[in-house]
């Protein structure tokens, strides 16, 4: 038992690597925040562009969105990280992680926002247009406020799942939690840093998962 504690909950190791894990937490939060903001805004922008129903543009959006939904983020990460430098474009690993995760989130967010926009009955559009509102004004003031409400639970769950992918950054050397934890584990020859890493993720994500659960009951999505 004491050997177990020594290996997984070693106080000396804990103290030595706490600063590193905390730094990792800061990096994870930084990546997560920029990914969530840029990803969701880009997804919303794409959904708005799509609602103008220009055939060629919509075809392009659907193809792009489908690709980013079908490809594993890890494949995209390796492709961008190792591929671009070879054609003379150097991007820091933090930016690669941001770019890839933001595009993946944007793709899923676009689908969710679009489904939300489609679920608003035609009568809402017609009523708004007949009062003299322009297409854009109808979209912004009438359709989107109702649509976005419907998208909250699925969007929250998807956002959480993609934000957890920040851990993939460790593969390309972004100093986030997992990266710090595995480095500390190999230096110390002790599993405590891994345990600390896991706990760090729990501290960051359990509240978010609980929030997602709350939102799901609060805004019922399909069968109201």
């Amino acid at each position: 038992m004491s050997r177990f504690l020594d290996t997984f909950f070693n106080a000396t190791v804990f103290e030595r690597y706490l600063p590193a894990i905390l730094r990792g937490m800061a990096v994870t939060v930084e990546v997560a925040v920029v990914v969530v903001i840029t990803g969701i805004l880009l997804g919303l922008a794409l959904a708005i562009v799509r609602s103008f129903r220009v055939r060629i543009i919509n075809g392009l959006i659907v193809v792009l969105v489908d690709m980013f939904r079908a490809l594993p983020p890890m494949v995209l990460l390796l492709l961008v990280y190792f591929g671009l430098p070879n054609v003379g474009i150097n991007v820091p690993s933090f930016a690669v992680l941001w770019l890839v995760l933001a595009l993946v989130l944007a793709a899923f967010a676009e689908e969710i926002f679009w489904a939300g926009i489609l679920s608003i009955p035609k009568g809402q559009w017609e009523a708004a247009r007949s009062t003299g509102l322009s297409f854009l004004a109808t979209l912004v003031h009438v359709v989107l406020p109702q649509a976005i409400r419907l998208t909250v639970p699925p969007l929250t769950n998807r956002t959480i799942a993609i934000t957890k992918n920040t851990a993939l950054g460790t593969v390309i050397g972004v100093g986030e939690i997992l990266n710090q934890a595995t480095a500390a584990q190999s230096f110390s020859g002790n599993a405590t840093p891994l345990m600390m890493g896991a706990i760090a993720y729990l501290i960051l994500f359990v509240p978010v998962v609980a929030l997602g659960r709350f939102l799901e009951t609060r805004f019922a999505w399909r069968r109201a």
Binding site: L78, L168, L194
Partner: protein
Amino acid sequence: MQALVDQFFNFAIMAQALPLILAGLRQTILICLIVVPLGLVGGLAVALLSLSPRRVVRWAAIAAIDFFRAIPPLVLLIFVYSGLPFAGIRTSPLTAVAIAFLLNTSSYYGEIYRAGIESVGAGQWDAARSTGLRAWQALLYVVLPQAVRNVLPDLVSNTVEVVKLTSIASVVALPELLYSADMARSVTFNSSPIVLAAAIYLAALWPIVRLISRLERRIAA
């Protein structure tokens, strides 16, 4: 432009890497064949526990689901693969991948089943039981078929996520599709093998992603 084509769409290198990548594809399929069926069954078990009439069981199940939904699967995988040996439990990459992915994916499938079962009215249960069906019969023949139909898009979409998830097995040196492609990349200093792997993922998953969009729209309508 030529440099770009050479770096990402070099067909000579793709042809060279093809046997290695196909071997990787077989491993990817093997992982999916282990994780998806077990995950579907494990998820159902988790869902039933999370709907248990006993409060302690229900809360324990929900806590476990949230725990595994909060931990990134890669963290879980590395913990199982390189943390557990410290406790004397040594696993092969495939076993580690199977354990980590099962814990992760059973929780997701569990949440989906739970939403499905909750969407079936309580009257269905009562009616089924009153005809003399046992609880498990009512579940299997009356409630589950309706529940699964209601959450089919989510079940399919989570299965796509499982297939995409297999790519992180490359981190523990399991020679699946992405690992093989990355091996070929590091030998040739050329990204074409990864583009080939991406094309294989796309060929397998794109039709399903399209299908999900259509299923979702049909239910929303």
